[in-house]
Protein backbone atom coordinates (compact mmCIF):
# COMPACT_ATOMS: atom_id res chain seq x y z
CA UNK A 1 0.00 0.00 0.00
CA UNK A 2 2.62 2.50 1.08
CA UNK A 3 4.86 1.32 -1.72
CA UNK A 4 2.74 3.03 -4.34
CA UNK A 5 1.34 5.92 -2.34
CA UNK A 6 2.42 9.44 -3.17
CA UNK A 7 3.52 9.87 0.41
CA UNK A 8 6.34 7.34 -0.07
CA UNK A 9 9.59 9.38 0.16
CA UNK A 10 11.47 7.22 -2.35
CA UNK A 11 8.68 7.57 -4.85
CA UNK A 12 8.50 11.31 -4.28
CA UNK A 13 12.23 11.68 -4.79
CA UNK A 14 11.95 9.76 -8.08
CA UNK A 15 9.10 11.97 -9.23
CA UNK A 16 11.10 15.08 -8.37
CA UNK A 17 14.15 13.74 -10.18
CA UNK A 18 12.01 12.87 -13.19
CA UNK A 19 10.70 16.44 -13.35
CA UNK A 20 14.19 17.92 -13.06
CA UNK A 21 15.59 15.68 -15.80
CA UNK A 22 12.60 16.37 -18.07
CA UNK A 23 13.15 20.10 -17.58
CA UNK A 24 16.88 19.80 -18.35
CA UNK A 25 16.17 17.75 -21.50
CA UNK A 26 13.56 20.22 -22.69
CA UNK A 27 15.96 23.10 -22.11
CA UNK A 28 18.68 21.34 -24.08
CA UNK A 29 16.22 20.81 -26.93
CA UNK A 30 15.17 24.46 -26.82
CA UNK A 31 18.83 25.59 -26.77
CA UNK A 32 19.62 23.56 -29.88
CA UNK A 33 16.47 24.66 -31.69
CA UNK A 34 17.09 28.31 -30.79
CA UNK A 35 20.37 28.50 -32.72
CA UNK A 36 19.04 26.46 -35.60
CA UNK A 37 15.97 28.66 -36.00
CA UNK A 38 18.08 31.80 -35.65
CA UNK A 39 20.39 30.63 -38.43
CA UNK A 40 17.49 29.74 -40.70
CA UNK A 41 15.73 32.98 -39.82
CA UNK A 42 18.71 35.21 -40.66
CA UNK A 43 19.34 33.22 -43.81
CA UNK A 44 15.74 33.60 -44.97
CA UNK A 45 15.64 37.30 -44.05
CA UNK A 46 18.88 38.29 -45.73
CA UNK A 47 18.67 35.78 -48.55
CA UNK A 48 15.07 36.45 -49.51
CA UNK A 49 15.85 40.14 -49.85
CA UNK A 50 18.52 39.26 -52.40
CA UNK A 51 16.45 36.66 -54.23
CA UNK A 52 15.65 37.56 -57.84
CA UNK A 53 14.96 35.48 -60.97
CA UNK A 54 18.16 36.80 -62.57
CA UNK A 55 20.15 34.89 -59.92
CA UNK A 56 19.51 31.73 -61.89
CA UNK A 57 20.23 33.15 -65.34
CA UNK A 58 23.11 35.62 -64.97
CA UNK A 59 26.80 35.11 -64.31
CA UNK A 60 28.61 36.26 -61.20
CA UNK A 61 29.43 39.96 -61.58
CA UNK A 62 32.79 41.75 -61.47
CA UNK A 63 33.27 44.29 -58.64
CA UNK A 64 30.59 46.98 -58.80
CA UNK A 65 28.57 45.18 -61.48
CA UNK A 66 25.25 43.41 -61.28
CA UNK A 67 24.77 39.69 -61.84
CA UNK A 68 23.54 36.30 -60.70
CA UNK A 69 24.74 32.90 -59.56
CA UNK A 70 24.16 30.73 -62.62
CA UNK A 71 27.76 29.52 -62.90
CA UNK A 72 28.00 28.82 -59.16
CA UNK A 73 24.73 26.85 -59.08
CA UNK A 74 25.79 24.86 -62.12
CA UNK A 75 29.21 24.14 -60.63
CA UNK A 76 27.77 23.10 -57.25
CA UNK A 77 25.23 20.75 -58.80
CA UNK A 78 27.75 19.28 -61.20
CA UNK A 79 30.60 18.76 -58.76
CA UNK A 80 28.45 17.55 -55.86
CA UNK A 81 26.60 15.29 -58.31
CA UNK A 82 29.79 13.85 -59.80
CA UNK A 83 31.34 13.43 -56.35
CA UNK A 84 28.24 11.55 -55.15
CA UNK A 85 28.06 9.39 -58.26
CA UNK A 86 31.70 8.40 -57.93
CA UNK A 87 31.78 8.02 -54.16
CA UNK A 88 28.44 6.31 -53.42
CA UNK A 89 28.92 3.01 -55.30
CA UNK A 90 32.42 2.62 -53.92
CA UNK A 91 31.18 3.41 -50.41
CA UNK A 92 28.21 1.04 -50.57
CA UNK A 93 30.27 -1.83 -51.97
CA UNK A 94 33.01 -1.36 -49.38
CA UNK A 95 30.44 -1.10 -46.56
CA UNK A 96 28.75 -4.25 -47.85
CA UNK A 97 32.05 -6.09 -47.77
CA UNK A 98 32.70 -4.99 -44.18
CA UNK A 99 29.26 -5.94 -42.85
CA UNK A 100 28.41 -9.02 -44.91
CA UNK A 101 31.68 -10.70 -45.81
CA UNK A 102 34.35 -9.33 -43.49
CA UNK A 103 33.74 -11.53 -40.45
CA UNK A 104 37.10 -13.28 -40.60
CA UNK A 105 40.64 -12.08 -41.16
CA UNK A 106 42.40 -8.78 -40.69
CA UNK A 107 41.28 -6.90 -43.82
CA UNK A 108 37.89 -5.73 -42.52
CA UNK A 109 39.04 -4.42 -39.11
CA UNK A 110 41.98 -2.65 -40.76
CA UNK A 111 39.73 -1.11 -43.40
CA UNK A 112 37.24 -0.01 -40.77
CA UNK A 113 39.99 1.71 -38.79
CA UNK A 114 41.47 3.51 -41.80
CA UNK A 115 37.98 4.51 -42.92
CA UNK A 116 37.29 6.11 -39.55
CA UNK A 117 40.55 8.06 -39.82
CA UNK A 118 39.53 9.23 -43.29
CA UNK A 119 36.08 10.13 -41.99
CA UNK A 120 37.54 12.56 -39.50
CA UNK A 121 40.32 13.89 -41.75
CA UNK A 122 40.12 17.68 -42.22
CA UNK A 123 38.66 18.31 -45.66
CA UNK A 124 41.38 20.81 -46.55
CA UNK A 125 43.88 17.96 -46.27
CA UNK A 126 41.89 16.03 -48.84
CA UNK A 127 41.98 19.11 -51.08
CA UNK A 128 45.76 19.28 -50.70
CA UNK A 129 46.02 15.59 -51.49
CA UNK A 130 44.06 15.92 -54.74
CA UNK A 131 46.13 18.99 -55.58
CA UNK A 132 49.33 17.01 -55.17
CA UNK A 133 48.35 13.83 -56.98
CA UNK A 134 46.14 15.32 -59.70
CA UNK A 135 46.15 19.10 -60.12
CA UNK A 136 49.93 19.47 -59.87
CA UNK A 137 50.42 16.70 -62.46
CA UNK A 138 47.98 17.97 -65.08
CA UNK A 139 49.09 21.51 -64.24
CA UNK A 140 45.64 23.15 -64.10
CA UNK A 141 42.71 23.47 -61.74
CA UNK A 142 39.47 21.84 -62.88
CA UNK A 143 35.94 20.79 -62.02
CA UNK A 144 37.06 17.17 -62.21
CA UNK A 145 39.65 17.75 -59.51
CA UNK A 146 36.93 19.28 -57.32
CA UNK A 147 34.60 16.36 -57.93
CA UNK A 148 37.39 13.95 -57.08
CA UNK A 149 38.09 15.68 -53.77
CA UNK A 150 34.36 15.62 -52.94
CA UNK A 151 34.13 11.92 -53.87
CA UNK A 152 36.93 11.17 -51.40
CA UNK A 153 34.86 12.91 -48.73
CA UNK A 154 31.73 10.94 -49.67
CA UNK A 155 33.34 7.48 -49.52
CA UNK A 156 34.07 7.17 -45.78
CA UNK A 157 30.67 8.59 -44.80
CA UNK A 158 28.84 6.08 -46.99
CA UNK A 159 31.11 3.19 -45.96
CA UNK A 160 30.45 3.87 -42.31
CA UNK A 161 26.68 4.23 -42.53
CA UNK A 162 26.30 1.24 -44.89
CA UNK A 163 28.40 -0.91 -42.56
CA UNK A 164 26.48 0.22 -39.46
CA UNK A 165 23.05 -0.13 -41.05
CA UNK A 166 23.73 -3.59 -42.50
CA UNK A 167 24.97 -4.76 -39.12
CA UNK A 168 21.59 -3.81 -37.65
CA UNK A 169 19.83 -6.29 -39.94
CA UNK A 170 19.12 -9.35 -37.76
CA UNK A 171 21.18 -12.38 -38.74
CA UNK A 172 18.06 -14.54 -38.46
CA UNK A 173 16.75 -12.89 -41.63
CA UNK A 174 19.94 -13.78 -43.52
CA UNK A 175 19.69 -17.36 -42.25
CA UNK A 176 16.05 -17.58 -43.27
CA UNK A 177 16.94 -16.44 -46.78
CA UNK A 178 19.93 -18.79 -46.99
CA UNK A 179 17.69 -21.68 -45.89
CA UNK A 180 15.41 -20.89 -48.84
CA UNK A 181 18.35 -21.56 -51.14
CA UNK A 182 19.33 -17.96 -51.79
CA UNK A 183 22.95 -17.50 -52.87
CA UNK A 184 24.79 -14.99 -50.72
CA UNK A 185 24.60 -12.14 -53.26
CA UNK A 186 20.84 -12.57 -53.27
CA UNK A 187 20.69 -12.59 -49.49
CA UNK A 188 22.47 -9.22 -49.57
CA UNK A 189 20.33 -7.63 -52.30
CA UNK A 190 16.98 -9.19 -51.43
CA UNK A 191 17.17 -9.05 -47.64
CA UNK A 192 19.97 -6.90 -46.23
CA UNK A 193 19.74 -3.96 -48.63
CA UNK A 194 15.97 -3.82 -48.44
CA UNK A 195 15.95 -3.92 -44.65
CA UNK A 196 18.73 -1.34 -44.32
CA UNK A 197 17.64 0.88 -47.19
CA UNK A 198 16.35 3.84 -45.19
CA UNK A 199 19.57 4.02 -43.17
CA UNK A 200 21.87 3.69 -46.15
CA UNK A 201 20.00 6.44 -48.00
CA UNK A 202 20.21 8.69 -44.96
CA UNK A 203 23.98 8.16 -45.04
CA UNK A 204 24.19 9.14 -48.71
CA UNK A 205 22.08 12.25 -48.05
CA UNK A 206 24.34 13.26 -45.18
CA UNK A 207 27.30 12.94 -47.52
CA UNK A 208 25.57 14.98 -50.25
CA UNK A 209 24.64 17.70 -47.81
CA UNK A 210 28.17 17.80 -46.50
CA UNK A 211 29.94 18.05 -49.86
CA UNK A 212 27.43 20.57 -51.18
CA UNK A 213 28.65 22.94 -48.48
CA UNK A 214 32.36 22.05 -48.57
CA UNK A 215 34.68 24.91 -49.49
CA UNK A 216 38.14 23.99 -48.26
CA UNK A 217 38.77 20.97 -50.52
CA UNK A 218 37.74 23.01 -53.56
CA UNK A 219 40.20 25.87 -52.98
CA UNK A 220 43.12 23.96 -54.50
CA UNK A 221 41.13 21.84 -56.91
CA UNK A 222 38.18 23.58 -58.57
CA UNK A 223 39.67 26.96 -57.61
CA UNK A 224 36.57 28.99 -58.53
CA UNK A 225 35.70 30.81 -61.73
CA UNK A 226 33.79 34.03 -62.26
CA UNK A 227 32.90 33.05 -65.82
CA UNK A 228 30.36 30.47 -66.83
CA UNK A 229 31.84 27.25 -68.17
CA UNK A 230 30.41 23.89 -69.07
CA UNK A 231 33.90 22.51 -69.41
CA UNK A 232 34.70 20.29 -66.46
CA UNK A 233 38.39 20.52 -67.36
CA UNK A 234 38.34 24.23 -66.48
CA UNK A 235 38.29 25.83 -63.05
CA UNK A 236 34.69 25.96 -61.80
CA UNK A 237 32.70 28.04 -59.35
CA UNK A 238 30.44 26.64 -56.62
CA UNK A 239 27.98 28.24 -54.24
CA UNK A 240 30.26 27.59 -51.29
CA UNK A 241 33.26 29.21 -53.01
CA UNK A 242 30.97 32.08 -53.95
CA UNK A 243 30.03 32.63 -50.32
CA UNK A 244 33.68 32.48 -49.28
CA UNK A 245 34.83 35.08 -51.84
CA UNK A 246 31.85 37.43 -51.76
CA UNK A 247 31.16 37.44 -48.02
CA UNK A 248 34.74 38.52 -47.36
CA UNK A 249 34.72 41.11 -50.19
CA UNK A 250 34.22 44.86 -49.74
CA UNK A 251 31.11 45.47 -51.91
CA UNK A 252 27.48 45.51 -50.79
CA UNK A 253 26.41 43.79 -54.01
CA UNK A 254 28.81 40.94 -53.20
CA UNK A 255 27.42 40.56 -49.68
CA UNK A 256 23.93 40.44 -51.12
CA UNK A 257 24.94 37.68 -53.53
CA UNK A 258 26.69 35.77 -50.75
CA UNK A 259 23.43 35.67 -48.78
CA UNK A 260 21.55 34.57 -51.88
CA UNK A 261 24.13 31.83 -52.45
CA UNK A 262 23.66 30.58 -48.92
CA UNK A 263 19.90 30.44 -49.29
CA UNK A 264 20.05 28.70 -52.67
CA UNK A 265 22.56 26.19 -51.30
CA UNK A 266 20.31 25.30 -48.40
CA UNK A 267 17.26 25.08 -50.63
CA UNK A 268 19.17 22.78 -52.97
CA UNK A 269 20.15 20.38 -50.17
CA UNK A 270 16.58 20.39 -48.86
CA UNK A 271 15.12 19.57 -52.26
CA UNK A 272 17.63 16.73 -52.76
CA UNK A 273 16.79 15.21 -49.35
CA UNK A 274 13.05 15.41 -49.83
CA UNK A 275 13.22 13.97 -53.34
CA UNK A 276 15.46 11.09 -52.30
CA UNK A 277 13.23 10.26 -49.34
CA UNK A 278 10.14 10.33 -51.49
CA UNK A 279 11.61 8.23 -54.28
CA UNK A 280 12.88 5.55 -51.91
CA UNK A 281 10.04 5.59 -49.37
CA UNK A 282 9.35 2.22 -47.87
CA UNK A 283 6.07 0.49 -48.42
CA UNK A 284 6.22 -1.74 -45.37
CA UNK A 285 7.70 -1.55 -41.93
CA UNK A 286 11.36 -0.97 -41.20
CA UNK A 287 13.52 -3.37 -39.29
CA UNK A 288 12.76 -3.30 -35.61
Amino acid sequence: MSVVSAANPTYRRRRRMNKVMMAVSTLALAFGLFWLLWIIGVLLWEGAAALRPTLFTQMTPPPGGDGGLANAIYGSVLMAGAGTLIGTPIGILAGTYLAEYGQRGWLAPATRFINDVLLSAPSIVIGLFVYTVYVARVKHFSGWAGALALAIIVIPVVVRTTDDMLKLVPNSLREAAAALGAPSWKVVTMISYRAARAGIITGILLAVARIAGETAPLLFTALGNLNFTLNVNQPMQTLSLQIYVYATGPFDEWHRLAWASALVLMGLVLVISLTARWVTRQRYGRIR
Binding site: S172, A182, G285, R288
Partner: protein, 258 residues
Amino acid sequence: MVASANTRLRLETAHLTALFAQHRAVRDVSLLFPANTVTAIIGPSGCGKSTLLRCLNRMHELTPGASVAGEVLLDNVNIYAPDVNPVELRRRIGMVFQRPTPFPTMSIYENVAAGLKVNGRRPKPEVDNAVSRALQQAALWEEVKDRLHTSALDLSGGQQQRLCIARAVAPAPEILLLDEPTASLDPAGTQRIEELCHALKRLYTIVIVTHNMQQAARVSDYTAFMYLGSLIEVGRTDELFTKPKVEQTEAYITGRFG
Protein backbone atom coordinates in the same frame (compact mmCIF):
# COMPACT_ATOMS: atom_id res chain seq x y z
CA MET B 1 2.30 -36.07 -57.45
CA VAL B 2 4.72 -34.62 -54.97
CA ALA B 3 3.86 -37.34 -52.50
CA SER B 4 4.58 -40.20 -54.87
CA ALA B 5 7.88 -38.67 -55.87
CA ASN B 6 8.73 -38.53 -52.21
CA THR B 7 8.05 -42.09 -51.22
CA ARG B 8 11.47 -43.45 -52.01
CA LEU B 9 13.37 -40.50 -50.60
CA ARG B 10 15.95 -41.41 -48.02
CA LEU B 11 17.66 -39.04 -45.68
CA GLU B 12 20.22 -40.38 -43.27
CA THR B 13 23.34 -39.38 -41.41
CA ALA B 14 26.40 -41.63 -41.21
CA HIS B 15 28.93 -41.07 -38.44
CA LEU B 16 28.13 -37.38 -38.50
CA THR B 17 30.22 -35.15 -36.28
CA ALA B 18 29.71 -31.38 -36.15
CA LEU B 19 32.25 -29.01 -34.65
CA PHE B 20 32.36 -25.40 -33.52
CA ALA B 21 36.11 -24.77 -33.73
CA GLN B 22 37.40 -27.56 -31.42
CA HIS B 23 34.12 -28.24 -29.65
CA ARG B 24 32.25 -31.32 -30.85
CA ALA B 25 28.57 -30.39 -30.68
CA VAL B 26 27.38 -33.53 -32.49
CA ARG B 27 29.31 -36.77 -32.01
CA ASP B 28 29.26 -39.65 -34.45
CA VAL B 29 25.51 -39.70 -35.08
CA SER B 30 24.07 -42.26 -37.52
CA LEU B 31 20.35 -41.80 -37.96
CA LEU B 32 17.76 -42.63 -40.65
CA PHE B 33 14.78 -40.35 -41.33
CA PRO B 34 12.15 -42.48 -43.11
CA ALA B 35 10.22 -40.86 -45.96
CA ASN B 36 6.85 -39.25 -45.21
CA THR B 37 7.19 -39.55 -41.48
CA VAL B 38 7.77 -37.08 -38.69
CA THR B 39 10.97 -37.70 -36.77
CA ALA B 40 11.41 -35.77 -33.53
CA ILE B 41 14.81 -35.04 -32.05
CA ILE B 42 14.60 -34.47 -28.30
CA GLY B 43 17.11 -33.83 -25.58
CA PRO B 44 18.12 -31.23 -22.99
CA SER B 45 19.34 -27.77 -24.04
CA GLY B 46 22.81 -27.86 -25.56
CA CYS B 47 22.64 -31.54 -26.50
CA GLY B 48 23.34 -30.76 -30.16
CA LYS B 49 19.86 -31.39 -31.56
CA SER B 50 19.63 -28.02 -33.35
CA THR B 51 23.17 -28.39 -34.66
CA LEU B 52 22.33 -31.84 -36.03
CA LEU B 53 19.30 -30.35 -37.78
CA ARG B 54 21.42 -27.56 -39.27
CA CYS B 55 23.82 -30.15 -40.67
CA LEU B 56 20.98 -31.66 -42.71
CA ASN B 57 20.74 -28.63 -45.03
CA ARG B 58 24.33 -27.43 -44.61
CA MET B 59 23.37 -24.38 -42.58
CA HIS B 60 25.82 -25.39 -39.87
CA GLU B 61 28.82 -24.47 -42.01
CA LEU B 62 27.61 -20.85 -42.33
CA THR B 63 28.67 -20.24 -38.73
CA PRO B 64 32.27 -18.96 -38.64
CA GLY B 65 34.59 -21.68 -37.37
CA ALA B 66 32.06 -24.49 -37.83
CA SER B 67 32.91 -27.73 -39.62
CA VAL B 68 31.50 -31.19 -40.26
CA ALA B 69 32.92 -34.70 -40.48
CA GLY B 70 31.06 -37.83 -41.61
CA GLU B 71 28.25 -37.96 -44.13
CA VAL B 72 24.66 -36.90 -44.67
CA LEU B 73 23.09 -39.01 -47.40
CA LEU B 74 20.15 -37.77 -49.42
CA ASP B 75 19.03 -40.54 -51.79
CA ASN B 76 22.42 -42.16 -51.21
CA VAL B 77 24.32 -39.03 -52.30
CA ASN B 78 26.56 -37.44 -49.70
CA ILE B 79 25.46 -33.81 -49.51
CA TYR B 80 28.93 -32.88 -48.28
CA ALA B 81 30.57 -34.20 -51.45
CA PRO B 82 32.62 -31.47 -53.17
CA ASP B 83 30.41 -31.31 -56.26
CA VAL B 84 27.20 -30.65 -54.29
CA ASN B 85 26.15 -27.00 -54.36
CA PRO B 86 24.80 -26.14 -50.89
CA VAL B 87 22.62 -23.37 -52.31
CA GLU B 88 20.79 -25.79 -54.61
CA LEU B 89 20.60 -28.38 -51.85
CA ARG B 90 18.78 -25.92 -49.57
CA ARG B 91 16.11 -25.47 -52.23
CA ARG B 92 15.23 -29.16 -51.77
CA ILE B 93 15.09 -28.84 -47.97
CA GLY B 94 12.84 -26.28 -46.31
CA MET B 95 13.58 -24.95 -42.85
CA VAL B 96 11.58 -23.16 -40.17
CA PHE B 97 13.29 -21.53 -37.21
CA GLN B 98 12.59 -21.12 -33.53
CA ARG B 99 11.38 -17.55 -33.87
CA PRO B 100 9.23 -16.40 -36.78
CA THR B 101 11.43 -14.65 -39.34
CA PRO B 102 9.12 -12.93 -41.83
CA PHE B 103 11.05 -10.60 -44.13
CA PRO B 104 10.11 -7.16 -42.76
CA THR B 105 10.24 -5.24 -46.02
CA MET B 106 8.00 -7.66 -47.88
CA SER B 107 4.25 -8.24 -48.05
CA ILE B 108 2.68 -11.55 -47.09
CA TYR B 109 2.62 -12.52 -50.76
CA GLU B 110 6.24 -11.53 -51.36
CA ASN B 111 7.34 -13.46 -48.28
CA VAL B 112 5.79 -16.69 -49.53
CA ALA B 113 7.09 -16.06 -53.05
CA ALA B 114 10.63 -15.31 -51.82
CA GLY B 115 11.76 -18.93 -52.11
CA LEU B 116 10.50 -19.09 -55.69
CA LYS B 117 12.19 -15.82 -56.59
CA VAL B 118 15.65 -16.96 -55.54
CA ASN B 119 15.23 -19.69 -58.14
CA GLY B 120 14.97 -17.15 -60.95
CA ARG B 121 12.04 -15.41 -62.64
CA ARG B 122 8.82 -17.33 -63.15
CA PRO B 123 5.52 -16.49 -64.85
CA LYS B 124 3.13 -14.70 -62.50
CA PRO B 125 0.25 -17.24 -62.65
CA GLU B 126 2.67 -19.96 -61.57
CA VAL B 127 3.86 -17.89 -58.61
CA ASP B 128 0.26 -16.98 -57.70
CA ASN B 129 -0.67 -20.66 -57.64
CA ALA B 130 2.34 -21.64 -55.59
CA VAL B 131 1.66 -18.88 -53.06
CA SER B 132 -1.98 -19.81 -52.52
CA ARG B 133 -1.14 -23.52 -52.41
CA ALA B 134 1.58 -22.92 -49.81
CA LEU B 135 -0.66 -20.71 -47.68
CA GLN B 136 -3.37 -23.37 -47.81
CA GLN B 137 -0.90 -26.05 -46.77
CA ALA B 138 0.18 -23.87 -43.86
CA ALA B 139 -3.51 -23.35 -42.90
CA LEU B 140 -3.12 -19.60 -43.22
CA TRP B 141 -4.97 -18.96 -46.47
CA GLU B 142 -8.38 -18.19 -44.96
CA GLU B 143 -6.89 -15.63 -42.60
CA VAL B 144 -4.78 -13.70 -45.10
CA LYS B 145 -6.36 -14.20 -48.54
CA ASP B 146 -7.88 -10.70 -48.47
CA ARG B 147 -4.69 -8.93 -47.41
CA LEU B 148 -1.92 -10.70 -49.30
CA HIS B 149 -0.28 -7.39 -50.16
CA THR B 150 -0.06 -5.96 -46.67
CA SER B 151 2.98 -6.13 -44.40
CA ALA B 152 3.84 -9.52 -42.96
CA LEU B 153 4.71 -7.81 -39.67
CA ASP B 154 1.02 -7.09 -39.00
CA LEU B 155 0.38 -10.81 -38.43
CA SER B 156 0.34 -12.34 -34.93
CA GLY B 157 3.28 -14.45 -33.77
CA GLY B 158 1.49 -17.72 -34.54
CA GLN B 159 0.41 -16.47 -37.95
CA GLN B 160 3.96 -15.31 -38.69
CA GLN B 161 5.27 -18.79 -37.89
CA ARG B 162 2.70 -20.38 -40.21
CA LEU B 163 3.73 -17.80 -42.82
CA CYS B 164 7.30 -19.05 -42.42
CA ILE B 165 6.07 -22.61 -42.93
CA ALA B 166 4.23 -21.47 -46.07
CA ARG B 167 7.42 -19.77 -47.25
CA ALA B 168 9.39 -22.96 -46.63
CA VAL B 169 6.95 -25.22 -48.51
CA ALA B 170 6.22 -22.84 -51.41
CA PRO B 171 9.22 -23.99 -53.50
CA ALA B 172 7.99 -27.60 -53.04
CA PRO B 173 10.93 -29.00 -51.06
CA GLU B 174 11.24 -32.72 -50.31
CA ILE B 175 12.18 -32.36 -46.68
CA LEU B 176 11.01 -29.95 -44.00
CA LEU B 177 13.23 -29.14 -41.03
CA LEU B 178 11.52 -27.53 -38.02
CA ASP B 179 13.81 -26.10 -35.33
CA GLU B 180 11.65 -25.76 -32.20
CA PRO B 181 8.95 -24.11 -34.30
CA THR B 182 6.56 -23.56 -31.39
CA ALA B 183 9.06 -22.26 -28.83
CA SER B 184 7.75 -18.70 -29.07
CA LEU B 185 4.06 -19.52 -29.54
CA ASP B 186 1.08 -19.77 -27.20
CA PRO B 187 -0.78 -23.11 -26.74
CA ALA B 188 -3.31 -22.35 -29.49
CA GLY B 189 -0.56 -21.48 -31.97
CA THR B 190 1.36 -24.57 -30.90
CA GLN B 191 -1.62 -26.79 -31.54
CA ARG B 192 -2.09 -25.43 -35.04
CA ILE B 193 1.55 -26.09 -35.93
CA GLU B 194 1.31 -29.62 -34.56
CA GLU B 195 -1.81 -30.28 -36.62
CA LEU B 196 0.13 -29.01 -39.61
CA CYS B 197 2.87 -31.56 -39.01
CA HIS B 198 0.30 -34.33 -39.26
CA ALA B 199 -1.15 -32.91 -42.44
CA LEU B 200 2.16 -32.14 -44.12
CA LYS B 201 3.93 -35.46 -43.61
CA ARG B 202 1.82 -36.82 -46.45
CA LEU B 203 3.86 -34.48 -48.70
CA TYR B 204 7.18 -34.07 -46.96
CA THR B 205 9.64 -35.88 -44.78
CA ILE B 206 9.64 -33.86 -41.58
CA VAL B 207 12.33 -33.55 -38.93
CA ILE B 208 11.34 -31.57 -35.85
CA VAL B 209 13.60 -30.50 -33.01
CA THR B 210 11.82 -29.91 -29.73
CA HIS B 211 12.56 -29.90 -26.05
CA ASN B 212 8.91 -30.43 -25.31
CA MET B 213 8.48 -34.19 -24.85
CA GLN B 214 4.70 -34.06 -25.00
CA GLN B 215 5.03 -32.39 -28.36
CA ALA B 216 7.38 -35.09 -29.62
CA ALA B 217 4.94 -37.74 -28.41
CA ARG B 218 2.02 -35.99 -30.10
CA VAL B 219 3.46 -35.23 -33.52
CA SER B 220 6.16 -37.74 -34.35
CA ASP B 221 6.33 -41.27 -35.71
CA TYR B 222 9.95 -41.74 -34.67
CA THR B 223 11.87 -40.11 -31.84
CA ALA B 224 15.60 -39.75 -31.39
CA PHE B 225 16.99 -38.85 -27.97
CA MET B 226 20.30 -36.99 -27.87
CA TYR B 227 22.49 -36.18 -24.91
CA LEU B 228 25.84 -34.34 -24.85
CA GLY B 229 26.08 -34.50 -28.64
CA SER B 230 25.57 -38.25 -28.91
CA LEU B 231 22.57 -40.19 -30.13
CA ILE B 232 21.44 -42.20 -27.11
CA GLU B 233 18.39 -43.97 -28.46
CA VAL B 234 16.08 -43.91 -31.47
CA GLY B 235 12.87 -45.81 -32.09
CA ARG B 236 9.17 -45.64 -32.83
CA THR B 237 7.76 -42.83 -30.72
CA ASP B 238 5.20 -44.98 -28.90
CA GLU B 239 7.87 -47.52 -28.01
CA LEU B 240 10.52 -45.01 -26.98
CA PHE B 241 8.15 -43.23 -24.63
CA THR B 242 6.65 -46.40 -23.12
CA LYS B 243 9.50 -48.88 -23.18
CA PRO B 244 12.80 -47.00 -23.47
CA LYS B 245 15.74 -49.40 -23.81
CA VAL B 246 18.42 -47.11 -22.39
CA GLU B 247 18.39 -45.90 -18.81
CA GLN B 248 19.34 -42.32 -19.73
CA THR B 249 16.35 -42.08 -22.04
CA GLU B 250 14.03 -43.27 -19.34
CA ALA B 251 15.54 -40.81 -16.87
CA TYR B 252 15.00 -37.95 -19.31
CA ILE B 253 11.46 -38.75 -20.38
CA THR B 254 10.37 -39.31 -16.81
CA GLY B 255 11.83 -35.95 -15.86
CA ARG B 256 14.63 -37.11 -13.62
CA PHE B 257 17.20 -34.97 -15.42
CA GLY B 258 17.51 -32.53 -18.29
